[in-house]
C-alpha cells in the first residue's frame, strides 16, 4: 500500500518570502502521479500543482514549483513570493497510474500561515 508523509505539521512564512513544504511517499510502483492540494479555511480543496512520475522536469505553476526526486521518493512544494491568500492546509497526494480510476492517498497535511 502507498503511504504519504508530511513531516511539518505547521509552518509560517513572512509575506513575499519563499517557503518549502516537504512530502515523502512510499510505493513500489514505477509510474504514478503526485499532486499538491490547498485547503483554505473555507474547506474546499483546490489543486495547486501536478507531477507525472515519468517526467523528469519539475512542474511549475506561476509562484508554485515542485522539487521531484524520484529516487528519494520526495516531492516538495516551493511557494515563492508568498501571499496572505496562501494561508491554508496543504496536502500532498499520490495516485497510482491506472486507466480505471484510482483514489488519492493523502498525507496528513501542513498548515501554512503567511504573516503580514
Amino acid at each position: 500500500a502507498q503511504t504519504v508523509t508530511q513531516s511539518q505539521p505547521e509552518m509560517s512564512v513572512q509575506e513575499a518570502e519563499t517557503v518549502t513544504l516537504s512530502c515523502t511517499y512510499d510505493t513500489s510502483e514505477s509510474n504514478y502521479y503526485l499532486f499538491w492540494y490547498k485547503q483554505p479555511p473555507s474547506r474546499q480543496m483546490i489543486l495547486v500543482i501536478r507531477q507525472e512520475a515519468y517526467k523528469q522536469q519539475n512542474a511549475t505553476e506561476n509562484r508554485f514549483s515542485v522539487n521531484f526526486q524520484k529516487a528519494a521518493k520526495s516531492f516538495s512544494l516551493k511557494i515563492s513570493d508568498s501571499q496572505l491568500g496562501d494561508t491554508a492546509m496543504y496536502f500532498c497526494a499520490f495516485s497510482r497510474y491506472d486507466n480505471y480510476g484510482q483514489n488519492f492517498v493523502f498525507g496528513p497535511g501542513t498548515r501554512l500561515s503567511v504573516l503580514p
Binding site: Y33, Q44, L47, F91, Y97, Y100, G101, Q102, G109
Partner: protein, 115 residues
C-alpha cells in the same frame, strides 16, 4: 453546475440515527469519489464510482456505510446507526475521465457531528 455541490453543509444527528449525504458532481464527470476527513487530518478514501458502477468500496469502515450513484450523476452516502466516531467532514470529488492523472475536483464537504 460549475463545481461539485454537496448537501447539507452541516448535519447534526443523535447516535443511532441514519443520515444521508448528497453529492452533485460536475456535469459529465465520469469518476466520483467519497473521502472522510477527520479534524486536522488528510482525507481518507471511502469509495469510488465510475459512472453508476461502484468499482471500489474498500475504504468504507463498516457495513453501516453505503453509497450509491444509480444514474451515474448524483451520489448519496448513507450511514446507518451512526456512532460518535463517524463525526467527520465527508468530501466528495469528481474527475472528468477514469484516468488517474486527472485532477479531482472537490466539493465543500458535509460536516457531520454525532451527539
Amino acid at each position: 453546475g460549475a463545481g461539485v455541490s454537496q448537501s447539507p453543509r452541516y448535519k447534526v444527528a443523535k447516535r443511532g440515527q441514519d443520515v444521508a449525504l448528497r453529492c452533485d458532481p460536475i456535469s459529465g464527470h465520469v469518476s466520483l469519489f467519497w473521502y472522510q476527513q477527520a479534524l486536522g487530518q488528510g482525507p481518507e478514501f471511502l469509495t469510488y464510482f465510475q459512472n453508476e458502477a461502484q468499482l471500489d468500496k474498500s475504504g468504507l469502515p463498516s457495513d453501516r456505510f453505503f453509497a450509491e450513484r444509480p444514474e451515474g450523476s448524483v451520489s448519496t452516502l448513507k450511514i446507518q446507526r451512526t456512532q460518535q466516531e463517524d463525526s467527520a467532514v465527508y468530501l466528495c470529488a469528481s474527475s472528468r475521465t477514469r484516468n488517474s492523472n486527472q485532477p479531482q475536483h472537490f466539493g465543500d464537504g458535509t460536516r457531520l457531528s454525532i451527539l
